[in-house]
């Protein structure tokens, strides 16, 4: 469990050292649109990519593209941190990147649709502001794909 009180002191101190001040006033988009009319993209910071893709560097703010029609079993992970469990990912891609759950929601009509592409970052070793350029560029691509909503999963 990631309740800090349940963790060893060295782990608690490390995680608290990751607290960063806000990047600015919290931005807020208010979409008066039901889920059934939304197009959703998934973004993970788990350092996922295809086996043939270039792996993530030690510190890396770039992203990898995950096509919407992927077979989840094709993905591997080159995250630089070793401080999280990887056996869950070995057993089920959805515990990190819940693509099958979102496909089910789309098939049921609970969400309007899924993006043509999803995206993977590797969240380790960089200050938050280092992601600005690549994320802002990515936002333009998502909007071109008519995506209006992004579901984010850490690792």
């Amino acid at each position: 469990m990631v309740r800090l009180v349940d963790l060893p002191e060295y782990e608690r101190e490390h995680l608290l050292s990751k607290n960063m001040p806000p990047l600015g006033p919290t931005p807020w988009v208010d979409l008066d649109r039901p889920l059934s009319e939304r197009k959703i993209a998934l973004i993970t910071t788990a350092g996922l990519h295809f086996r043939d893709d270039e792996g993530f560097e030690f510190a890396d703010a770039s992203y990898r593209v995950i096509p919407g029609d992927l077979e989840g079993d094709e993905l591997v992970m080159s995250h630089s941190s070793v401080n999280f469990d990887r056996t869950g990912f070995q057993d089920d891609i959805n515990v990190v990147f819940p693509i099958d759950r979102f496909r089910e929601l789309a098939a049921e009509g609970l969400v309007g649709g899924l993006a043509t592409q999803h995206f993977s970052f590797m969240g380790a070793g960089l200050q938050p502001a280092m992601y600005e350029a690549s994320v802002r560029k990515l936002a333009g691509l998502l909007i071109k794909d008519a995506v209006d909503t992004v579901f984010l999963t850490p690792v």
Binding site: T26, W28, I43, D148, F151
Partner: protein, 231 residues
């Protein structure tokens, strides 16, 4: 994760998602996140539990209906606990074979041979593998690690191939160690990997080499987890 939400939302996209460390999310004040108590590495809680994963997703999506923020809501359920009647028996006999075991290179090669049937079983059972980051066969990866620990120095270190080699070697071992049917305790798998295998011992030796060079202190995080170092 919070920074990505911040930049996407400021570009006009609505965001929601999962927070695993509440304090970190609270500090950065992104628009919307659902905090869960799940272990690091498992933001959807439990592998193979589709109904649970779906409930988590729907709770995070529900935050999109809030009219003001930032929103950081606590998810009420813990990840389902798995009943482990016994720790799974380690599928590998670590009795040392009679071949040459005088070097890390020889010991790792021997151990990989013992792991292979269990890794193959894992691939068969799971229908997939997460090995493959380094894009070279696994038996060519162990020598990258062995060379450094056998020479007792980081001379000739090629960092990026080493990072990918360690990722693949650990994935190969974890898949082999979890190949048995049934449930397992992932913390116990990590303990076995680090304390009972030659790979674990070699990686600890490598970690010591990195620790001895202040310029490489940050890079230690590709080798040993804080838990492994504090055992």
């Amino acid at each position: 994760m919070s920074a990505i939400a911040y930049f996407l939302e400021s570009e006009g996209l609505q965001t929601t998602g999962i927070s695993l460390v509440r304090e970190n999310t609270e500090a950065l004040r992104p628009p919307r996140f659902l905090w869960t108590t799940f272990p690091l590495g498992r933001p959807m809680g439990t592998p193979g539990d589709a109904p649970f994963q779906r409930r988590v997703i729907l709770a995070a999506l529900d935050l999109l209906n809030r009219k003001s923020g930032p929103v950081l809501e606590d998810y009420p359920e813990d990840a389902p606990t798995v009943e482990i009647e016994d720790h799974p028996a380690c599928p590998v006999s670590f009795a040392r074979p009679s071949a040459d075991v005088s070097t890390w290179d020889a010991r790792l090669r021997n151990e990989l041979l013992q792991m292979k049937p269990w890794y193959d079983l894992s691939r068969h059972r799971r229908g997939r593998t997460t090995v493959g980051v380094a894009k070279v066969p696994i038996d060519e990866l162990a020598p990258r690690l062995a060379k450094l620990v056998d020479q007792g120095s980081l001379e000739g270190l090629d960092f990026k191939p080493l990072k990918y080699a360690l990722e693949d070697l650990k994935a190969y071992y974890r898949e082999a160690l979890t190949a048995q049917p049934g449930t397992y305790d992932f913390a116990e798998i990590e303990r076995t990997l680090w304390d009972e295998t030659e790979l674990g011992r070699a990686m600890r030796a490598l970690d010591d080499l990195f620790a001895a060079d202040p310029r490489l202190a940050q890079a230690r995080r590709i080798i040993a987890s804080r838990a492994a170092r504090n055992d």
